[in-house]
Structure formats: structure tokens, C-alpha cells
């Protein structure tokens, strides 16, 4: 079955992206991770990598505008015969892209060697694997009785993913009790196959002067900076993927101190004279720790909804994101990240889940969450570091942050600039990208 290549959502505002250029010609083989095509959005241009190995077929023409989540091409295994673009599973008609699909005829004609023989296998397989489209598209919550919900709350069990025995699949108290029985007897904490190697670092094209180093948050990756990259393009941008995140190896990290050490090694390896450091959430805590130990190399520090300034953190959301194996279970938690839930569309959730499809990645992140946020509490306290750092420092926070309370910002010393946004959640760099971009740029 061919691998679908979709238009990714790289920006919260983005509804479609334009294929700027293909790096691979129709019928050419690519390997996973190879640059595949560039997209242009209203705010950024970005290189997209091949999601797997295969031969490129049915690529959407350059210059075409494709709705996010819609296919732009397929990668066929060697020997697989591309007949026609596979049917997409589930109601395409209800997806936001319905009015902007690439016509099948266009794709058909773009295929270099259409074989008229019929081997409809791929299409059928795709259909068979389809999730229940109704369930996927309605965006409804799940059914559970108040008792089931309170039992789950007390025990820290995530009800999503549990199947209920009540009418219409309602999860009842008994379902939770039996799930807890199973959980208790199941082998405890997620184990992951630890890897080794340096952290993945990606750089933007262009820009001059002191570079900006970007450190993303927990369960995120370097792609999350896309919304503000346009505003910062005058400087070279360097994104670091945290261990167990994005393209970085899944390192075993026993403590926050070790995490800082790994990050410092990556930072030192950049051999920068100085850098502007920007960190979000967990990345904020790390940026602060880095600035504290490399004061001469950090010319300014921008902390977006940083961890490390107080005990409270939404542990359920962190675990929920870490545990989710399906878009249905990931979506509700992703929506807690933002104030305006409409930003997290179903297609965005599907893409986010696709990025988290590797069980080893999820296990590595869960292990990290367990170490950093045991029992849903921030076990790291960097208030002293924030008192010590002397470079110009700003803290940016959304007042509707449901992950880390924005009031932690008030613990910053007077010297630190505070930027608090009404109606914004835990992702100001996405939800208020223009404003956040301007704030950081004014620092450069």
C-alpha cells in the first residue's frame, strides 16, 4: 500500500499550502527524511521531508494550492503498480479540503507510466483500514457516566480509549474498575528502546547576524516554530529538537540536570559566539538553565510560557498527549493547549498524531514526563536561575494558559519584561504569532 504524503499544517492559521517546488521528480525514488518538497504559506516557506521510502507518484503540480491534510502525492514501494491515486479513507466530502482537491484526472495524467491493468488492491485496503468516519469527524466528546469520570479522575486513568459497556458505548463505573484492575496487573511504566547520538539541529536558510536558537516544549518539535519564523527571518534560525522529540535520538534522560547537559552539549557544538535564546514551556525552562550556565553566550533570553517557575502543571494533559495513540484521544488534549479550540482542527489533530505514531517516541516522552513532572507536579524550580541571569530577558504568557498557570510569570524579578496576552492559551507563538514575533524581533 502506498504511503500518503499530505499537506502538513505548519501554522495555526493555515488552511492550505502552496507547493513551491518538488525536490524529487515523478517516478523517482526517495528515502525517508529526504527533502521532498517546499511549501509556502502566508507566513513561512518550509521544506517538507519524505514520510517514508518509496517512489513518488501522482504528485500535485508545483504552484497548486492544497488544503491541509489533503494528499499531495503518494510514495509507492518498489514493484507496487501505481494505477490511480488511492481513495482516501473516510469522508473527504466533510473535510475542509473538499473544495480544493487536486483533480484525479490531473494526477492521472501526471503519472508517468499509467498501467491500465486493474490492481485495485491499494484502494480497497485503504477503505478497509478507514476509521469510522462519523466518529472521527463529529468531534463529539465520549460518553461516560459521572461516576466513571470521577473514578478515572481519582485514579489518574484516561477514559479516552476505554470502551464502555453501557448504551451507545457509555463508559460506566464498572468499566473503569475493570480497566484499573487490568492496569494494575499490567507491566508498569513504558519502557523504550534508548538510542544514542547528538540532538537534531535544523537551520533556516538565510539571515545574518547573531542567530536565534529555538527550543521547543514537551511533546512538540522544531516544526512548532514555523508560525514565528517569518518574523525572525532577518537572523539565522537554529532549531534544536529535544531528546525523544522530532528527529533527535531517544536518549535515556535520568534527570533534568542530564537534560540540560545534553542540550548544553548541542548548544556548545554550535560554536556560536552569542545567540538569542527562545524557549517554550519545557524549552523555556531549558533555555533559562542554559542561559544560567552559559551567560556569556546568550545575548537575550525569551521565555514563552516557561516551565520551572512554579509547581502547578496540567499533568493530565501531558500524560494525555503522551499516551494518545489515536486522533480521537489526542484531539481533546491538544485543544487544552490553546484558548480558541477552533484552532485545533480535526486535520491538525490527524497530522499531530501522525507525527507521534512511533510508539518508541511516545514511550521516550512519557518517561521524560514522569521524570520532569512526577505526579503531575513540576519537579524543577528555576526561580533562582531567573534571579541570576543578567541578559535582557522577557517572559511571554497567555492568560488562558491551561497547562502552566500564567501567574507563574509574576514570580519573575522586576528586571524581566512581562508580556501577558488575554484570550491566549499555552501556545502564544502560534495563537498570537504576529505579536510574539514582534516582541522577539524587538529584542534582536
Amino acid at each position: 500500500m502506498p504511503i500518503e504524503v499530505i499537506m502538513p499544517k505548519v501554522d495555526m492559521d493555515m488552511t492550505s499550502g502552496k507547493i513551491a517546488v518538488w525536490h524529487v521528480a515523478e517516478g523517482e525514488a526517495v528515502a525517508k527524511g529526504d527533502p521532498l518538497f517546499d511549501i509556502e504559506t502566508a507566513k513561512a516557506a518550509m521544506e517538507i521531508e519524505a514520510p517514508g521510502d518509496g517512489v513518488l507518484h501522482f504528485a500535485a503540480p508545483e504552484g497548486s494550492e492544497i488544503a491541509i491534510g489533503q494528499p499531495v502525492a503518494w510514495l509507492y514501494a518498489a514493484g507496487e503498480k501505481p494505477v490511480e491515486p488511492p481513495q482516501r479513507p473516510g469522508g473527504v466530502g466533510t473535510s475542509p479540503a473538499a473544495d480544493q482537491p487536486v483533480g484525479p484526472d490531473d494526477r492521472q495524467s501526471a503519472a508517468p507510466d499509467p498501467v491500465p491493468a486493474a490492481d485495485p488492491e491499494p484502494a480497497h485496503e485503504a477503505g478497509a483500514l478507514a476509521d469510522d468516519p462519523a466518529a472521527a469527524e463529529t468531534g463529539e466528546g465520549f460518553r461516560a457516566t459521572p461516576r466513571a469520570r470521577s473514578l478515572a479522575r481519582e485514579s489518574g486513568l484516561d477514559l479516552r480509549g476505554l470502551s464502555g459497556t453501557g448504551p451507545r458505548g457509555r463508559i460506566q463505573g464498572e468499566d473503569v474498575r475493570s480497566a484499573l484492575q487490568t492496569t494494575r496487573t499490567a507491566p508498569a511504566p513504558a519502557r523504550f528502546a534508548a538510542e544514542t547520538g547528538p540532538l537534531a539541529v535544523t537551520r533556516s536558510k538565510g539571515g545574518t547576524g547573531t542567530p536565534v536558537v529555538l527550543i521547543h516544549g514537551f511533546a512538540s518539535d522544531a516544526m512548532s516554530w514555523a508560525p514565528i519564523e517569518g518574523a525572525l527571518k532577518q537572523r539565522p534560525l537554529i532549531r534544536i529538537d529535544l531528546p525523544g522529540h522530532g528527529k533527535s535520538p531517544k536518549l535515556r534522560i535520568p534527570s533534568f540536570r542530564d537534560l540540560v547537559k545534553v542540550l548544553r552539549e548541542a548548544f556548545d557544538a554550535l560554536s556560536l559566539e552569542t545567540a538569542h535564546l527562545v524557549g517554550h514551556s519545557l524549552g523555556g525552562a531549558l533555555a533559562l538553565a542554559l542561559a544560567d550556565t552559559r551567560p556569556k553566550s546568550v545575548s537575550t533570553l525569551t521565555l514563552i510560557a516557561p516551565a520551572g517557575l512554579g509547581a502547578e502543571v496540567n499533568g493530565a494533559a501531558l500524560l494525555g498527549i503522551g499516551n494518545a495513540t489515536r486522533p480521537e484521544s489526542l484531539g481533546p488534549w491538544l485543544r487544552t493547549l490553546v484558548a480558541d479550540e477552533r484552532l485545533v482542527t480535526d486535520s491538525y489533530v490527524r497530522l499531530a498524531m501522525a507525527a507521534r505514531s512511533d510508539p518508541n517516541l511516545r514511550a521516550a516522552q512519557l518517561a521524560m514526563a514522569d521524570m520532569l513532572f512526577p505526579d503531575g507536579v513540576q519537579a524543577i524550580d528555576l526561580r533562582a536561575a531567573l534571579e541570576r541571569v543578567e541578559m535582557p530577558t522577557r517572559v511571554i504568557w497567555g492568560r488562558q494558559d491551561a497547562i502552566i498557570p500564567w501567574r507563574h510569570a509574576l514570580r519573575a524579578p522586576g528586571r524581566v519584561g512581562l508580556h501577558l496576552f488575554d484570550g491566549i492559551g499555552h501556545m502564544p507563538q502560534m495563537e498570537a504569532s504576529d505579536e510574539v514575533g514582534k516582541i522577539i524581533r524587538s529584542n534582536l
Binding site: 457516566t145 459521572p146 448504551p167 463505573g173
Partner: protein, 336 residues
């Protein structure tokens, strides 16, 4: 009395228990008087007053003219000026005629006069269906009066309770409305001798159980108990709560039960919509016991129509034991 068992308990009918309570109160306190239509030599529409007129005379057992509004007004005035009237309606349906005196006077005077006076009035309302008395003589209107702050509204379901609650009502400085189901008048049950009171505002657990809470009022308590027996044979252990008082409602007994069972079925004869069960359901949904609910709340109430004259239809419009059995099974077995 049962002569074979030395510990046998004295039994009275519900009507006899009311009469005994009135007799005790009148003997002990000259201020207690009875008022109502045909309660004198006729003995009352349901023979509750009986021969009390011969014992206490027509000054204390007063037949009132066929004007519920007038009679109720005199009763309110009597209470305000120091007497302890017990006013009987022939049918609770006729409360409609006396609403001004009940709702705007009896319930409000203490408040309007800044607490300087109170209205120690007891009103008795023969109510409910099952007697073939048709649409204007068969209603269960306790929710009407339960909606009025300043009134207390009770629905005793047993002879023991109706005696104790009537005596408690007489001790109460404020108006107490007693809704007596007409079908219960002939029901026999143990009634303790002598003077005692049964607290107003306190529900009674008639049968302890762990699977579902059935909160019932008046005659429905007995239907719920019959249903619970049947359900026990099918392995369902129902708790039956007799609400006893509509206002002020005993929240804690109901909530404690729901916290235990996680399931609630309300059974009442009044029309389902906006009835007593609606209040119980909402009260539970608003409380901390919400977290313990493991199934939707179910109300079984009277049908949304006048009570029919036809005896079969009359049965059909109010919850019956098989309806309760079915509803409880649906709730417990997760069918709804």
C-alpha cells in the same frame, strides 16, 4: 390486635391514625379546632373526623359553608389570632379555590409583618387518584404548594407517620400542608399509642439496598416497596426512600443514598413535568452526589393529562408497580 403474639403491635387505619392525632391534640389543647365542609355530624367526606363533633361540640368541630376561599380565610384568621385550626379540604383539587388564602396570606403574613406574627395553621388535603372520582377530584397537587416559601408540605405514607406528622404540624408555628392519599385512608399499619411527633423535613429509608435508590412519595412508597421485593428476586437490591416531606426537602438522606447506589429513580403520582421528581432529580444533579451517578436519572410520574374516569385508564396514567420494576431494571442493567 393479634392475640397469639404477646408482642403484637397495635394497628390502626391511616384515617383512624389521623383522627387519633386530632383527638389527642384537642384533648390536650383547647386552642386546637377542626374546620371543613361536612366534617361535623357527617364525619367528613372520607370519614376521617368521624364522631369527634360529639366529643368536642360544634364550637371546636366546625362545618364550614361551601366556600373553600371563605373557610380558608377564616382558618388563617383563627390561626393569626391564637387558635390552632386544622382545616380539611374535601378534595385537594379544591385548593385551587383557596389559593389566595394559602399562598398570599398564610404563607406570607409572617414575612410581611416582619416576624411579629405567625400562622400556626394545619391544612389537610385528601388527594390522588384511584377512587374513580375523575379529573377534578383525583389530582396530586403537592408540587403547587411545594413551590411556595413559607409553607411546609408533607405527604405521610403510613398511619404511624400521618399521626406523628399531624402532631408535629400542630407544634409548628407556621402553616403545614398535609397531603393524604385517599387510597391510603383504609390502609392499616402499626401506630404507637399516645402522643409523639414525626419530624417534618426528614425522609425515611423504608428498605435498604445497594443497587439503586428509589425515592418515592405517598402511595408510591408502597408500590416502590412491592417493586423492590420483586426486583430482589431478580438479584437487584433496591433502596426505597420515603421522601415524606416535599418542602423542606431532606436532601442529605437522598444524596447519601445516591452516593451509595449511583442510580436514582424518582416515583411520584403528580404530573411528571415540573413535579416533585423534577426537583429531586435536579437537586441530585446539582450536588456533589452527581459524581457518583452511574446511569441517567429516571422519573416516573403521572401522565401529562387529566386523570380519566375510566378505571383502567385511571390506573394507566399513574406509575404502577410493574412500571417501577421495568424502570429500575433499565437503569440498573444499563439499558438507557
Amino acid at each position: 390486635m393479634n392475640a397469639h403474639t404477646p408482642t403484637a403491635l397495635r394497628e390502626l387505619s391511616y384515617a383512624e391514625a389521623i383522627r387519633e392525632a386530632m383527638d389527642l391534640a384537642m384533648a390536650a389543647d383547647d386552642r386546637v379546632i377542626l374546620m371543613g365542609e361536612d366534617i361535623g355530624v357527617y364525619g367528613g367526606a372520607f370519614q376521617v373526623t368521624g364522631d369527634l363533633v360529639h366529643k368536642y361540640g360544634t364550637d371546636r368541630v366546625m362545618d364550614t359553608p361551601i366556600s373553600e376561599l371563605g373557610g380558608a380565610g377564616v382558618a388563617v384568621g383563627a390561626a393569626l389570632t391564637g387558635l390552632r385550626p386544622i382545616f380539611e379540604f374535601q378534595f385537594s383539587d379544591f385548593a385551587a379555590l383557596a389559593m389566595e388564602q394559602i399562598v398570599n396570606q398564610a404563607a406570607k403574613v409572617r414575612y410581611m409583618l416582619g416576624g411579629a406574627v405567625s400562622v400556626p395553621l394545619v391544612m389537610r388535603f385528601p388527594s390522588g387518584s384511584g377512587t374513580g372520582a375523575a379529573a377534578q377530584h383525583s389530582q396530586s397537587l403537592e408540587a403547587w404548594l411545594g413551590h411556595v416559601p413559607g409553607l411546609k408540605v408533607v405527604q405521610p405514607s403510613t398511619p404511624e407517620d400521618v399521626k406523628g406528622m399531624l402532631l408535629a404540624a400542630l407544634e409548628d408555628p407556621d402553616p403545614v400542608m398535609i397531603f393524604e392519599h385517599k387510597i391510603l385512608y383504609k390502609m392499616k399499619g402499626h401506630v404507637p399509642e399516645g402522643y409523639y411527633t414525626t419530624p417534618i423535613g426528614k425522609a425515611a429509608i423504608r428498605r435498604a439496598g445497594k443497587d439503586v435508590s428509589i425515592v418515592a412519595t405517598s402511595i408510591m412508597v408502597h408500590k416502590a416497596l412491592a417493586a423492590a421485593e420483586q426486583l430482589a428476586g431478580e438479584g437487584i437490591d433496591a433502596e426505597v426512600i420515603d421522601l415524606r416531606t416535599v418542602r423542606p426537602m431532606d436532601h442529605e438522606t437522598v444524596l447519601a443514598s445516591v452516593r451509595k447506589t449511583g442510580r436514582l429513580v424518582c416515583v411520584y403520582e403528580g404530573v411528571k413535568t415540573l413535579g416533585v421528581g423534577a426537583e429531586i432529580s435536579a437537586m441530585v444533579a446539582e450536588s456533589d452526589a452527581f459524581d457518583f451517578l452511574d446511569a441517567p436519572i429516571v422519573r416516573l410520574g403521572g401522565a401529562e393529562c387529566p386523570v380519566p374516569y375510566n378505571p383502567e385508564l385511571e390506573k394507566a396514567v399513574v406509575p404502577q408497580t410493574p412500571d417501577i420494576v421495568e424502570a429500575v431494571k433499565n437503569v440498573v442493567k444499563g439499558r438507557i
